[in-house]
């Protein structure tokens, strides 16, 4: 199975900048333990590394000790809490797995040959992750999760599912717009969603620019502000007219200035 993992940091950039380890463990790979009864084929996202270039990723592994947390229910492995890159050996990556009752010193070490490590571009990763979640995800759950008083980690995992769902077109842009409009999202969450979708660039659903243009008409100044950010990320010249109209009539000085700068950046792109 594949595993959904979210980083301990919470920006959309983190969600999007990930490397995916596909661990096709063989019986010869040490150790065999009781923690992972279904360990034939599972995957892990490790870091917010943006590059999908394997050389750059190797360099990262040399230095990083990023701790990421598993939403354990999603991977069906009870007890698994942390996954940590411990270091890179010759032609391999050693990873540590810590269960509920273990300390860092007693982590199990799994030796993963590089030949079994794949680095996926962001959009592919989202698709892959989403494949494992489609039975669990629907807009009502997301709405409740984002609305309700859930803990931070759970909310972040929902946000990532949400973005993955958009990529995979399981959630329509109308639903995205509805969620952004109705859910009691914080500015950061709204920004995360818009940034994540916008960062997909060519992989984004075709309607994303229009959705962002529609957001320019929101009564909420911060939603107009955030929509501008998304359009700058996409650098979609089709949005220029809407931005110019906004810039002319905008009451908020902050939004007005952002619209003007966005026009300059998109026109120069």
């Amino acid at each position: 199975m594949n595993a959904l993992i979210h980083t301990t940091k919470r920006s959309a950039s983190d969600f999007g900048a990930i490397g995916l380890f596909r661990l096709n463990r063989k019986s010869s790979d040490p150790p065999t333990d009781d923690h992972f009864p279904d360990q034939d084929n599972w995957a892990a996202v490790i870091t917010q590394e943006r590059s999908t270039d394997k050389k750059a990723f190797d360099s990262l592994i040399d230095q990083t000790e990023d701790v990421v947390s598993f939403p354990t229910d999603l991977i069906g492995q009870t007890g698994l809490q942390l996954f940590r890159v411990l270091g890179k050996g010759e032609g391999s990556i050693d990873t540590g797995l810590m269960t509920d009752d273990q300390t860092e010193e007693s982590w199990d070490i799994i030796h993963v040959p590089l030949s079994q490590v794949s680095i996926f571009p962001k959009a592919s990763t989202d698709f892959l992750l989403y494949d494992q979640l489609d039975d669990e995800l629907n807009i009502d759950d997301l709405f409740r999760a984002l609305h309700g008083s859930i803990d931070k980690n759970e909310r972040e995992s929902y946000l990532m599912q949400f973005s993955s769902g958009v990529v995979n077109a399981q959630i329509s842009l109308d639903e995205v717009a509805s969620l952004l409009d109705k859910a009691n999202l914080s500015p950061e969450d709204t920004y995360d969603i818009i940034s994540t979708i916008s960062d997909l660039g060519d992989h984004a659903p075709a309607g994303v620019p229009n959705m962002l243009v529609d957001m320019l008409s929101s009564r909420s100044a911060y939603k107009r502000h955030i929509a501008i950010s998304g359009l700058v990320r996409l650098k979609d010249k089709g949005a220029l007219q809407a931005l110019k109209e906004l810039q002319n009539k905008e009451q908020s000085t902050v939004v007005k200035k952002s619209a003007l700068r966005a026009i300059q950046i998109i026109e120069g792109a």
Partner: protein, 171 residues
């Protein structure tokens, strides 16, 4: 008149304009929305807030923003609040010059200050004062990349983070 700058990311900016009618129609004026207290701009660490001195002609803003972003692991849209140097003392907040922790040594030694001994009342007072008296500026990621590039060319920055280095255009 000199200024202080407080960095605040893009998603945290519009609330400081104070036009809250559409966001919080229930809010009776004058009154502050409680979300302000959780805003990045007034999020204290050890009851202190880090701010940066800005010259009267604002000529060092770009350098300060470059330094503040050069240490991050990735770039996002960002921005800052700018307020008069006298604002903290006007509302009874103490200011201390301390060493900064950016990769710009001149900035660290000369332009970094802390607003200190902040209690909850002081933060509420600061919020009220900022809403009335601060300027808000946004910077898109594209702008920040240019600022960091300029500071590197001018040798203001002794280094940038590994993550930022990858985002800079290669010459």
């Amino acid at each position: 008149m000199a200024y202080f700058l407080r960095k605040v990311d893009y998603a945290h900016q519009t609330i400081w304009e104070g036009n809250w009618g559409d966001e919080y129609p229930w809010l009776i004026m004058p009154g502050l929305p409680s979300d302000l207290l959780g805003n990045e701009a007034v999020r204290t660490d050890n009851c202190e807030l880090s701010v940066y001195f800005i010259n009267e002609d604002k000529s060092n803003i770009n350098r300060v923003m470059a330094a503040l972003n050069a240490k991050r692991e990735f770039l996002t849209d960002t921005g800052y609040l700018l307020f008069e140097e006298s604002l903290p003392s006007d509302i009874g907040i103490k200011v201390q010059q301390t060493d900064g922790e950016t990769y710009d040594d001149h900035l660290n030694k000369n332009w970094h200050y802390d607003l200190v001994e902040l209690n909850a009342d002081a933060i509420v007072n600061l919020c009220e004062a900022l809403v009335e008296r601060c300027e808000i500026e946004s910077l898109f990621k594209d702008d920040v990349i240019k600022l960091i590039g300029q500071s590197m060319s001018n040798k203001y920055l002794r280094k940038v983070s590994k993550g930022i280095r990858k985002e800079l255009p290669r010459n």
